[in-house]
Symmetry: C2
Subunit: 346 residues, 2 copies
């Protein structure tokens, strides 16, 4: 049965368009010989658009993007855009509007990749970061700004609905993995209200997944284990902000954000999910074919997996693993993309 | 001029009393030959007291503690006390009531200490963690608890007063160090209200310290550099929660929380400051003379420094450094304390 993937592409700024091009190259290659075709629409979003028009994401953009099956994003931002404008106005707006409640971040140390850890061991875990609640909701404010009496607040909002759905998703992912282990990361000894909601929810959902073992770590302790014993992790479920912090750390110990892929997933498929490398737009090396497109390519793998094209997703991961094992001298962005495309076509 | 230090001692639970005893042993030793004497009062606080009486910290306890010059705390807590009871009711209550707005956490990789990092380089920085604001204020709540409509919130409160005083303290500490570098760690691209208050405050205070160089890192990026290039840090100033997270990570890369000391400092000396190892009460090894008292001893060093006894503080750090360099086989808690006491007396 022939199938068309309607793909919204946001190349973005800096190295975003370069790495995205390689992701698309590999996507085309892996689909050769299948009856799946890709229908792309490019969206000009990011710093360039904001500089030109003052717009970040209009209602029309959002409506147009919503008609797609998935979104591939490169990277947005440059240092001349004030902090928060593109983050809140574009990236987080997409995550919230499209209800990306599962922010999926696998961390795997591929053989041959140098880790800053002396003895990393086998590292292969996935962080299920909540994507639509917590301190990211934008419910903050400030009073008497710029005076000695200024007060600024940030409110972390956590709901039973929001926590339960992401916890259940994380349990299901743990159950599908060989080790079947779930670690809740929070700080319930200090953030008692939010923390106890998370804890009670994990306890309540656990009986539905009797073969998944569950443990708990405070976020501060989790950072310790991330450096001293990362192999202990299998699936981690955590709130939006803690997830932001520990996934950068997880990327660091598995070879850097240049290799880290992520999915902003709406498991209910009520809106398109969005896949993006964890790295930023790196304006300093933009346009020089110096960026490593591996994270963008791995993000395409997560995208295919989300759309049910599991075999193709696995071929992408295997291609990356094989390519990394043989890496020697430096290659350009498109050389790496070519090599990966050749492998997945194989 | 003879001087008496009125010291409140909270040994606490688990290994707390053991390591505190060694801290006090070294304190006595380092003061031999000076005209400084220590007058101790023990306070029974922690899990044991809570189990016996249901009390965490009464108004009378607090009033009595407040009459002292400083507090030395071992560790409190055991797994049978519900999460949050001793944290909010005792530890954080002390930090807030005694206005410990500078939570001081030095991280130094002593020669000979194994780091989980392959190439840590020279690591010697100090985190100035805000101690009386942020998400730690306890301004959270929950509605419809236990129902599918539960909503739990946690409010991070940040004031110009609170941010400015800790930022100024951090600048002063940076200025007193050879590298004179200050890094603000926050997440101002998402937590825009709190983040911009922190950023504007650093910008506003910077001209008072023209020889201090300033940079900024998002908290997620800071965890990356902590593993890939920790020598870049000199003084870090950050909010209460970010500080909690990155100081455990900092302890991990410099040999573990067994070596990490901390001070909950009230620089204005309106109330006594409190010094404690970063580690917990480790009930599994309590009473077995297995705990490493080094963090407690280093906390005594921070205490002496706070009280102006700089030379004695330096002798303690030097003793720890020398002892670590010669460590070979395992020693008991009190053997380590004896060795350090002998060195500082030297
Ligand atoms: C750019 C920023 C808004 C974003 C986040 O904090 O989620 C980034 O750090 C990430 O992890 O995707
Ligand atoms: C025990 C807990 C309340 C405390 C904190 O979160 O501050 C601890 O983790 C610390 O860092 O001193």
């Amino acid at each position: 049965m022939a199938r068309t993937i309607k793909l919204a592409v946001v190349g973005g700024d800096g190295i975003g368009p370069e790495v995205t091009a390689e992701g698309l190259k590999v996507l085309d290659a892996v689909l050769v010989g299948t009856d799946v075709t890709v229908e792309r629409t490019d969206f000009e979003l990011g710093a360039a658009r904001w500089h030109a028009t003052g717009e970040t994401l209009t209602d029309d953009d959002l409506a147009a993007i919503s008609t797609h099956d998935a979104i591939l994003l490169g990277a947005v931002g440059d240092p001349t855009v004030p902090s928060g404008v593109l983050e809140r106005g574009l990236l987080l707006k997409l995550r919230f509007a499209l209800d990306h409640y599962v922010n999926l971040r696998p961390s795997k140390l591929f053989p041959g990749v140098p880790s800053p850890l002396a003895n990393p061991g086998e590292v292969d875990f996935v962080v299920v970061r909540e994507g639509t609640e917590g301190p990211y909701v934008g419910n903050g404010g400030a009073l008497r700004v710029g005076t000695p009496h200024e007060i600024a607040t940030e409110v972390s909002v956590n709901t039973a609905h929001g926590v339960e759905r992401v916890v259940r998703d994380a349990f299901a992912r743990a159950q599908a993995r060989p080790r079947k282990k779930l670690t809740l990361v929070h700080k319930h000894n200090v953030l008692v209200h939010a923390g106890h909601l998370w804890r009670r929810t994990v306890d309540a959902v656990a009986p539905e997944f009797p073969d998944v073992s569950v443990d708990y770590l405070h976020v501060d302790a989790a950072t310790i284990f991330m450096t001293t014993d990362p192999s202990r992790f299998d699936v981690i479920v955590t709130d939006n902000l803690f997830g932001d912090i520990i996934t950068d750390l997880a990327a660091a110990i598995t070879g850097g954000i240049g290799l880290a892929a992520s999915g902003n997933v709406n498991p209910d498929k009520t809106f398109p999910s969005m896949f993006e490398p964890v790295h930023g737009s790196a304006p300093d090396i933009a346009g020089q074919q110096k960026a490593d497109p591996t994270a963008a390519v791995l993000s395409v793998g997560l995208l295919l997996d989300h759309l049910g094209l599991t075999e193709q997703a696995q071929r992408i991961e295997a291609a990356v693993e094989a390519d990394i094992a043989e890496r020697s001298g430096p290659r350009s962005t498109s050389e790496i993309g070519d090599a990966l495309a050749a492998r997945v076509a194989g």
